[in-house]
Structure formats: structure tokens, C-alpha cells
């Protein structure tokens, strides 16, 4: 192997080698100086640029947890955005996300201004945002929300009085079970919590597989077509489904009442603007597009809400939900 440095040193004229070395050094110094100035410039311009959230934002971004099909949600939440725009006078846009965590992250980092959360996501947002989070409105049905356990009609699973009975029925049956999304309240957290409270066992210990289908309507679909024996979901998605589907997947258990969805915002918007959005939401049933959206949401109107009603969930999540792993 030829050592090139060695070859250069012995065979080439000394002064020439020396010169190139010097040139090289100068180049290097200039280059590193340029890089330093450049980074410094970036940092300085970055820190002195004006803040983007002015007193009154030029537009509002609204998002929601994806618990239904994207088309439905774009249509009906688009209507709510339209209503808010008309009342508040700031262009409002609904941005659909396919991920629960993305919606919480967006509100917590100020990339969204208004978010439609479930109870679990509200609690998660509270844990990461603290008092910056403000709950402004909820549906009338959200204060007394219920969830359903449904079973495939052909599986021959009778309605049960409590979930202890269900675990006894499930012994040695190799039944499969599906929740909705992991971060969902009425299709995962509360059914799971009721299940463990009443039976003293985790669903994973009782059923052969416990899966997460993604959203409420998918749970109904998968139980109805026999992919899973039993599933859990919230009330409005079940109520709005077709009778044919309901026949194929009858309810076997109705959970006790709990608090659920709400519209949350961040205090950074300023109390005046929050007040206007609050008023707009409470008057949703007065406009035609609002009526349409409320029909989809299975509700008569929006009512006042406060974070304190969701604090129970914060404690529940902080105490830890056992998901294995």
C-alpha cells in the first residue's frame, strides 16, 4: 500500500507542498468563519422575527379527534367552522387529522386553536398543557354519555346484567374482542375501566385477542360481519348506524353514564376571543348549518362546560391504565 502523504513529502518539491498546505489552511479558516457567521445570522434573525400569534389571529384552525370517517367529519365539522366564522368574523378552517395524538399535539403547541376532544384526549391535553387548556363547550348528551358492548348476532351471546357475567360466559370460548381507538374514551378507556372494575380481570386475560380497530364505526362493522365476537363503542355512532347493521350486532350491555366530548381551546387566544367562540358554539342550533351538524352529532345544542368536569379522567390516567408492555 502506498502512503500518499509519505510520497508527497519525499518526492515533491518542499516549497510547493508547503504552499498548498498554507492555502488549504486559509481556505479552511475562511470556510469555518463563514459557517459560523451563517449560523449566528440564522439564530439572530430567528429570535428577532416578530411573533406570529398577534393579538387577534388572522385565522382560526379547528381540528378534532378522528372517531368517524374523514368525509363525514370534514363535512359536518366544516359546517361548524363555517358557523364560527360567521359569528366571530375570523376565517376558520377545519383540518382533519387521522391520529388522536396529532390533534392533541396541535392544540398543545399552538398550531391549532380549537379542538374537539374526547374525555381521554382532554385529560391528556390537560396533563401536557396544564391551565393553558380551557374547555369551552360540550353537547348536552356529553354530560351523560353511555357506551355499548355489542356482540355478533350469530355468536349467540345473550345480553348480560354486568360484565362479571360476561367474563363467566366467555370462559373457554376463545372469543375475540375489539376496542375502537387506543385514545378513545367511549370505545376504549371507559369500557375497559368498567370491565376491570366489575370483573376484576383485564380484557386481555379473558378474550383470545383484544384488538384496536381504529374508530367506532369500524368496531360496529367488524362485529357485524363476524370478524370479532364482541366490541365496545360509544352511543351516537351506534344510534346513527343503519338498522341492518344493528340487527347483526345487537347491544349486550350498556355502561353506566360518564362525561365525554367537548370543545377545548387554549388560553393564549385571549379571553375576549374565547368568549366570542363560546357564544358562537352555544348558538350553534340557531343557524341552518349548525342544525345540520347537530343532527350528525345526535345532539340538540351545545351547553356550558368546565375543565373541572373532566378532572376525574386526569386522575384516572395519572393512576395508570394497564395496557401491558
Amino acid at each position: 500500500m502506498i502512503d500518499i502523504q509519505e510520497t508527497l513529502r519525499t518526492n515533491w518539491p518542499f516549497h510547493y507542498y508547503h504552499q498548498t498546505l498554507q492555502e488549504e489552511n486559509v481556505k479552511r479558516i475562511i470556510l469555518s468563519a463563514m459557517i459560523m457567521i451563517w449560523t449566528l445570522g440564522l439564530v439572530v434573525t430567528g429570535s428577532t422575527l416578530p411573533a406570529f400569534t398577534a393579538e387577534r389571529p388572522s385565522k382560526l384552525v379547528m381540528t378534532a379527534i378522528p372517531d368517524d370517517s374523514a368525509e363525514n367529519m370534514r363535512e359536518f365539522f366544516g359546517l361548524i367552522a363555517q358557523h364560527i366564522e360567521n359569528k366571530v368574523g375570523i376565517p376558520t378552517e377545519y383540518v382533519h387529522v387521522a391520529n388522536y395524538a396529532a390533534s392533541v399535539t396541535a392544540l398543545a403547541t399552538g398550531q391549532a386553536d380549537l379542538a374537539w376532544f374526547g374525555a381521554v384526549t382532554t385529560a391528556q391535553a390537560y396533563i401536557v398543557m396544564g391551565d393553558e387548556l380551557e374547555v369551552i363547550a360540550a353537547r348536552d348528551i356529553d354530560k351523560e354519555f353511555i357506551g355499548y358492548f355489542i356482540a355478533n348476532a350469530d355468536a349467540g351471546i345473550p345480553p348480560v346484567n354486568d360484565l362479571k357475567e360476561l367474563t363467566e360466559l366467555a370462559q373457554d370460548k376463545n372469543w375475540t374482542f375489539t376496542f375502537g381507538s387506543k385514545s378513545s374514551t367511549s370505545s376504549h378507556m371507559m369500557p375497559r375501566s368498567f370491565f376491570t372494575d366489575q370483573s376484576g380481570q383485564n380484557p386481555e386475560e379473558v378474550f383470545r385477542t383484544v384488538a384496536y380497530s381504529g374508530s367506532h364505526d369500524v368496531v360496529l362493522q367488524k362485529v357485524a360481519n363476524g370478524e370479532f365476537h364482541i366490541g365496545a363503542l360509544g352511543q351516537p355512532p351506534y344510534d346513527r348506524a343503519s338498522d341492518e347493521l344493528k340487527l347483526k350486532a345487537p347491544i349486550i350491555y350498556t355502561t353506566p353514564k360518564f362525561t365525554n366530548y367537548n370543545f377545548s381551546t387554549r388560553k393564549g387566544l385571549g379571553s375576549e376571543l374565547i368568549g366570542q367562540i363560546h357564544a358562537a358554539l352555544l348558538s350553534l342550533h340557531e343557524s341552518p348549518e349548525g342544525q345540520k351538524a347537530l343532527g350528525y352529532l345526535k345532539s340538540k345544542q351545545f351547553v356550558d362546560a368546565d375543565m373541572s368536569e373532566w378532572m376525574g379522567y386526569v386522575d384516572l390516567i395519572k393512576s395508570g391504565v394497564d395496557i401491558g408492555g
Partner: protein, 635 residues
């Protein structure tokens, strides 16, 4: 003969093949024992019939896809969105990856050095070497973190929209491309670019005039191959607000809306095919193959020179289109106004939005659960000990009882109390899926290579001396077409979508994921396998032809391209491990599942531990492949 010469023959004994086979057998055995395989969907007659009804229902819809104008328009809009975001992501990735690869290629960053042998793998030998391994670490992290996680992290910086998805895609592909670029550059022989250094060129000059031109061909073809993959896999765009084909197919599959699934799959296939043709076009313009009979034909000077410009111009045109479409085109998701999605990019240069990254700070502080192994805070350790929740490894069996199988079981049970051990164990599911899936895919690809090869199906008379009648030629042509079609469909449909389909058929589990990986790997591999067979000059076959084409394929073509096949297979295995982790996210379980669960519940400390495991897996496999020097890609 001197004994030393005899030793040379001794060392040439093909023990490495046997070692390789034993290792593969051990890995497969490990894959089947360490993870829980649920075959009930195949063995239980009722479940089997259900799975087959669903499959049948899906196949039936192929005759009646949903071609209503409304849905076609919807699918077309989704296709354009996917395409523009994917192209934007890739072009950014190519730029970033070339910069990063300069840092992580040993012969660019470190250059000439005295270190030989194992010292070359030791990062602390010089400051430049340390820099080099840091760059490699960066690219491993970029690649290992699933793209949807990058997307959620970027939401904090630039908000919601397709640009976020494109940037997330860019970060992920940067990791992949930088790894490949640096490996390809490193695999160029030092002696081939020595002249540049002797003439006084620095390390950058060596790269630009020596290393890069020598590796350009492989770099270019790998970039284009990656681009096709990215266009197919751009499902991430939907995760953070932008639509896209992948997200929609996932949704429709869950509903059993098979006719819509078929339409969307057809659009995906068409997109893949177009990407395939376009990349082949660019490849043809930028590369001349002196062995190909077509290039012998004389061309005008203009014809020769213009090709490179046509290739580059076409690429630029495509990139410009994607930028224009995202900014000013008709890019509305269904039911919404189109707007400029490039605007949020300005947030990238304000420090305020970068501060939002603090939101994820807790991920850097992974939970190691040291209390469970008796380290860390004394009081907590005592509290846990009182509950019997600490690991007391030698409580039941002493260390010297290691020969008892029951001792290992007891030790394992004891270790399970430690969170980190559970994390490590959860990686057995993606590994098992990747090992079995890749093996099945490689075997299937080898079998399919024969009918897939142009040389053996159409031009075999060039070396076999036979002159088959027309009906034999038609039959062989038919074989070729069927094989090519099979390959195209199995690689044209992304692996995640295969997984969606098989989860819908068999229910979530290892089985569905493994089949998906096997089918997709087969499609990808059969193409490169048969390319390497078709690149062998026919006179090599002529010498060894003994009357049977199949024999010639097995003993000559197979043996000659074996090394290439193994290189590609190992690459495929590496990417399959990452795919298997992602499958955990869509419901197969294991490492990916627990990671997303903790991530989506904002338990960043625990998610951090799982992420460390994912990164560790990537790094281990990468370093093994670098040490085995497999990267001699000749595509």
C-alpha cells in the same frame, strides 16, 4: 507443495455457507419459539371458511370496481396529493442525504488512515472518525423512527397539513438514502481513486471527481428505486391532515367496502406503474449500457449529448410540478377549498416554533426502571422490594445451575419484572415476522425468477441451440407475462396495504404480517434477482448448457448471481424489520404496538425506551451488514 499452500485450500473450504445455513435455521427456530404464533385462523375450520369468504368477496369485486364518476374524482385527487407530497419529500431527502452521507462515508469523512482491520470499526481512533460515527448514528435515528412519529413531532413545529407529511417522509427517506449512499461510496476500491489524491485533491475533490462518479450508477438506480417505494408508501401524509391514498384504503378495507378498495388499489397500481416507467425513462437517459445491443447503433452528437439534459430536465419538471401543485394547484382535499400548503414552511425559520419541540423533551429521558433491578433511588427500591417487584435473579436457581432448563425459565420470569427486559422481549415479534417473511419471500422469488427471466423464457435459443416451434414460444411468453404480472402486483401494492388486506382476512396477528412481508419481498426481489440473471452474457450459459434450461438456470445462472441475490436479500431483511415494527402500529402487536400506545398516550418516557429499542435494532443490523461488506450493489 509447501504446507502453507495447502492451508490456503483448507481455508477455502466452503464452511461459511454451512455456517450461514445453520444460523438461518437457528433464527427460524428462534422465530417460531420466541413469539406466539396463532395458526387458528388456518386450522380452525369455521374461521378458515370465514377468511375465505372474505377473500372471495374481495376477489369478486375485481370484476366490479366502484367506477362512479364521483369516486373516480375522489381517487384522482388523492393520487395527485400523494404524488406531489411524495416527490417533494424525496427531492428534499436526496439533498439532505447527500450532505449527511458525506459525513458518514468513511472514505470521505476520514479519508486516508493507518488504521486497519478492526480498528476501522473503532470510533474513537480520531476526531474525524468520531464525527463519522456520529453522522451514522444520525442517519440510523432518522431511519429507525417511524415516519408517522416524525409527522406528529413536526406538527409541533409547522402545524397541520400535507407539507408536514412530506417533511416527515423526507426525514425518514434521508436516513435510508444516506445509509445507502455512504455504503456505496465506502465500497469503492481505494485504489480506483488514488490518482485524485496523488494530484493533490482534498477529500471533497476526491469525492466529486473520484468516488461519486464511480458509484454514480448504483446511487442513481437506488435513488429511483427508493423514490418509487416512497410514492407507494406515502400513507403518512394522511396521518396529519392531507389525505392520500394509503389512509383511505386503510379506512375502506376496515369497512369491507371492497369495490372501493379495488378502485383505490387500481389507482395505486397505476401510480406505481407510472413511477416505474418514469424512473426507467430517467435511468435510460442518464446511463449508457455499453453491453446492450441497442447502444451499438451510431447516434448523432446531439443525440448522444442531449440525453443527459433530457433526463435532468424531466426530473426538474416533475419536482417543479410537485412544488407548484402543493402551493398553487388544485390541491383541495375532498370537500374543501384548495390553498397554499407551502406557507407553513416559513415557520421553519422562526425560533418560536422550534421551541415547541420542548413538548417532546421527555422522550430524551427514557424510562429505564432502574429501581426494579435495585439501582437508583434507595427508598423506592425498598418499597418495591417489599412488594416483591424487584428482580432477584438467583433467588430460586443459582448461577451454577445453568444446565437445568427450568432455571432459565425461572430466570426469564424473574427478569420480566424489569420494564426494559419486557421492551427487549417485545422486539421478538417484529424480528420473527421479518425473519420468516424474508425467508419465504426469498425462496419464492428464487422460484419465480426462472419464469421471470427474459433470457430463459424468450432468448434461450441464443445459448441452448434449440429452435422451438411457435406454440412452445407462445407458451413460454405466457409464462413470462404471468410471472411479470405476479411480480408487479406483489411489489406494486405496498407492504402495509398487503398487511391491511391480510389482517382483514385472517384477523390481526403475526400470520397476517408475515404473509404480507413475504409477498411484498417476493415482488421486490424477483425483479432484481432476474435483472442480475439477465445481465449475464449468454456465452457463459452456452459453455455449461447440458440440455435442460432448468438445470442451466439452477447450476449456472443461480450460482453466478448468488452473491448479488444474497446482498439484495439482506437489504430486504433490514427494511423488513422496520416494516414489521410499523405493522405493530396497524395491529399486529409487539414493539411497534407498545411504542405507539405509549406515544399516543403521551407517556413519552416509556415511548422513549421503546424507541431506543427500535433504534438499537436498526443500528445492530446496519453494523452487521457493514462488517459483512455486503453492500457491493451492482444494480
Amino acid at each position: 507443495m509447501k504446507p502453507r499452500q495447502l492451508d490456503r485450500y483448507g481455508s477455502k473450504r466452503p464452511w461459511k455457507h454451512w455456517a450461514g445455513m445453520v444460523i438461518i435455521l437457528v433464527l427460524v427456530a428462534g422465530a417460531f419459539t420466541s413469539a406466539e404464533w396463532d395458526f387458528s385462523s388456518l386450522l380452525d375450520s369455521q374461521q378458515r371458511s370465514q377468511a375465505f369468504t372474505r377473500m372471495l368477496a374481495w376477489i369478486k369485486t375485481f370484476s366490479s370496481p366502484d367506477f362512479s364518476p364521483e369516486f373516480l374524482k375522489h381517487s384522482w385527487a388523492l393520487t395527485l396529493q400523494t404524488l406531489s407530497a411524495a416527490i417533494l419529500g424525496i427531492s428534499l431527502a436526496v439533498v439532505l442525504a447527500s450532505l449527511l452521507a458525506m459525513g458518514s462515508a468513511r472514505n470521505v469523512m476520514v479519508g486516508e488512515e493507518k488504521a486497519r482491520g478492526w480498528m476501522r470499526h473503532f470510533p474513537l481512533r480520531s476526531p474525524a472518525a468520531l464525527m463519522c460515527s456520529l453522522c451514522r448514528l444520525t442517519q440510523d435515528i432518522l431511519r429507525a423512527v417511524p415516519d408517522f412519529v416524525w409527522a406528529v413531532i413536526l406538527v409541533a413545529v409547522i402545524g397541520l397539513g400535507p407539507l408536514t407529511g412530506a417533511l416527515a417522509l423526507a426525514l425518514n427517506i434521508t436516513g435510508i438514502l444516506a445509509k445507502v449512499y455512504s455504503e456505496l461510496w465506502d465500497s469503492v476500491e481505494e485504489s480506483s481513486y488514488e490518482q485524485v489524491r496523488i494530484l493533490g485533491g482534498g477529500r471533497l475533490a476526491t469525492l466529486f471527481y473520484g468516488i461519486a462518479p464511480l458509484a454514480a450508477r448504483s446511487v442513481q438506480s437506488f435513488t429511483l428505486m427508493r423514490a418509487e417505494c416512497a410514492i407507494r408508501n406515502a400513507a403518512v401524509i394522511g396521518a396529519v391532515g392531507g389525505g392520500g391514498l394509503g389512509a383511505d384504503i386503510w379506512y375502506q378495507i376496515q369497512f369491507g367496502a371492497w369495490s372501493k378498495v379495488t378502485t383505490l388499489l387500481l389507482f395505486t397500481l397505476a401510480l406505481t406503474l407510472t413511477a416505474d416507467l418514469a424512473s426507467n425513462f430517467i435511468r435510460r437517459q442518464l446511463r449508457s449500457d455499453p453491453n446492450h445491443p441497442r447502444t451499438v447503433r451510431a447516434k448523432s452528437t446531439f443525440g448522444q449529448l442531449s440525453r443527459a439534459y433530457v433526463g435532468v430536465g424531466f426530473t426538474l419538471l416533475v419536482v417543479c410540478w410537485s412544488v407548484w401543485f402543493m402551493g398553487w394547484g388544485d390541491n383541495a382535499p375532498p370537500g374543501q377549498q384548495s390553498r397554499n400548503y407551502l406557507e407553513p414552511a416559513i415557520k421553519l425559520i422562526t425560533s418560536e416554533s422550534w421551541q415547541n419541540l420542548k413538548f417532546f423533551e421527555r422522550m430524551l429521558n427514557p424510562e429505564l426502571d432502574l429501581e426494579a433491578v435495585g439501582l437508583g433511588d434507595r427508598e423506592k427500591v425498598r418499597a418495591l422490594q417489599a412488594e416483591g417487584k424487584t428482580v432477584d435473579l438467583f433467588a430460586e436457581y443459582r448461577f451454577r445451575e445453568f444446565w437445568k432448563p427450568s432455571a432459565w425459565v425461572a430466570w426469564e420470569l424473574e427478569l420480566r419484572k424489569w420494564f426494559v427486559w419486557r421492551v427487549v422481549k417485545s422486539s421478538s415479534i417484529p424480528l420473527a415476522m421479518a425473519i420468516v417473511g424474508t425467508l419465504m419471500g426469498v425462496l419464492a422469488a428464487m422460484a419465480l425468477t426462472y419464469p421471470h427471466s427474459y433470457a430463459f423464457m424468450v432468448e434461450s435459443s441464443h445459448f441452448s441451440g434449440e429452435s422451438p416451434p411457435w406454440w412452445v414460444r407462445v407458451q413460454r411468453m405466457a409464462q413470462l407475462v404471468v410471472a411479470k404480472g405476479t411480480g408487479l402486483i406483489s411489489r406494486g401494492i405496498p407492504d402495509v396495504m398487503w398487511a391491511f388486506l391480510f389482517i382483514a382476512f385472517f384477523g390481526p396477528g403475526l400470520l397476517a404480517g408475515t404473509i404480507a412481508i413475504a409477498i411484498h419481498s417476493m415482488g421486490v426481489l424477483v425483479r432484481v434477482f432476474s435483472e442480475s440473471v439477465d445481465n449475464i452474457p449468454y456465452r457463459r450459459f452456452e459453455q455449461s448448457f447440458i440440455g435442460s434450461r432448468l438445470n442451466c438456470f439452477a447450476y449456472t445462472a443461480g450460482a453466478m448471481s448468488w452473491r448479488d441475490w444474497m446482498t439484495y436479500s439482506f437489504f430486504q431483511f433490514e427494511s423488513n424489520v422496520r416494516t414489521a415494527v410499523v405493522f405493530g402500529i396497524v395491529g399486529v402487536g409487539g414493539l411497534g404496538f407498545f411504542f405507539t400506545f405509549n406515544f399516543e398516550w403521551f407517556r413519552f418516557e416509556r415511548a422513549g425506551t421503546y424507541l431506543l429499542m427500535i433504534i438499537a435494532l436498526t443500528i445492530i443490523i446496519d453494523r452487521i451488514s457493514r462488517m459483512m461488506n455486503l453492500s457491493r450493489v451492482s444494480c
